[in-house]
Symmetry: C2
Subunit: 204 residues, 2 copies
């Protein structure tokens, strides 16, 4: 798939996962694309935990559901009503999930390009996640980033060691279709912001 086609077809998928098995080799291809992402000082500070165990998925989903209620309780009545109609995860329906973590110690103690910006390693992990997302799109798979969770819960659930930080829970798998309009826009949560509104020249 053409790069620009992948960029514009990519969606944050919740409702369209079919649960079908992934085509042969697709998981390896998307993870290799993630592993080929740029990283500060070539530290590649990411790890990938593939979660296919249904008990783990169920326990994570229960936690996400609690966090969903927690968030809803912070909204005013109008926002809450809109929010209740929005599906926020496809944990149980998607074929598998990939948890991506950050290891700040990899490549240390003097990671080239990180002495002045401590978060640069964190940024690298996100670049890998976007590679994974676009590769999934090119493979005609859906991917959905779930962020309704507490990091310490996820660390305990998967036995992630101290010092390694979970960055994302990504639902992944075949889909019945990809929506043309993002869910949050279809549900009138927010409209997409045009580029011109974010563009500055030679200063803010």
């Amino acid at each position: 798939m053409d790069l620009y086609e992948a960029v514009y077809r990519r969606r944050d998928v919740r409702a369209e996962f079919s649960g079908a098995p992934l085509p042969d080799g697709a998981l390896e291809r998307v993870l290799n694309a993630a592993n080929a992402a740029p990283s500060v000082g070539m530290s590649q500070p990411w790890d990938f935990i593939v979660v296919s165990d249904s008990d783990l998925k169920r326990r994570f989903h229960t936690h996400v559901d609690e966090e969903r209620r927690e968030y809803a309780s912070q909204l005013d009545a109008e926002q809450r009503e809109k929010f209740q109609r929005i599906k926020i995860d496809g944990i149980l329906e998607s074929t598998l999930s990939v948890v991506v973590t950050y290891n700040a110690d990899r490549g240390g103690p003097n990671v080239l390009g990180r002495h002045a910006i401590a978060d640069a390693g964190l940024y690298s992990v996100c670049l890998a996640i976007e590679n994974l997302w676009l590769a999934a799109t090119a493979e005609e798979l859906g991917m959905g980033w779930v962020s309704f969770y507490r990091e310490h819960f996820l660390s305990q659930l998967l036995g992630i060691p101290d010092g390694i930080r979970p960055i994302a829970w990504l639902c992944l798998g075949p889909v019945t279709r990809l929506q043309e309009t993002p869910d949050l826009e279809r549900h009138r949560w927010r409209k997409r912001r045009p580029l011109e509104d974010s563009l500055h020249r030679n200063g803010w």
Copy 2:
């Protein structure tokens, strides 16, 4: 360009910028690709400052050079010798730069998906940067992320308001070629880590 081709051809460019003008429409295409990235709660918390002014570039370069010396002073003799051979930026040689910033207040106060993970907005900005990088590769441009700087210096230089955080200085422009092997591997700073070393199943 095919998505996977862009993923594997992409390089973090320092030495190969030609300084030639960008082809018509290329800057708009790569910035629109960035603006089409996923973001938590569809907050699109990024801004893009295009820097073409040569005085601004020169002042930033002077600062980066100071930070380069600061980093070198932290290395042992063997590392320092390797590091001295590595070019860390193409600020003066590249046609222009794009500074990407993060606005935590956009879409607030209740950004959907950010109540439990404060950094989720920061992650979104990085996804946009990777879209920009891959689009630049597909346009046969080079891009290089410079991270030898202090955020407050860059904020002052470009008049970035309080509460907006600079995330990246990206050099961008036509190149004479893209290296096949990353600079840091060619200079024996680090080797690329194979995917298998970062892969776990159903737990760490």
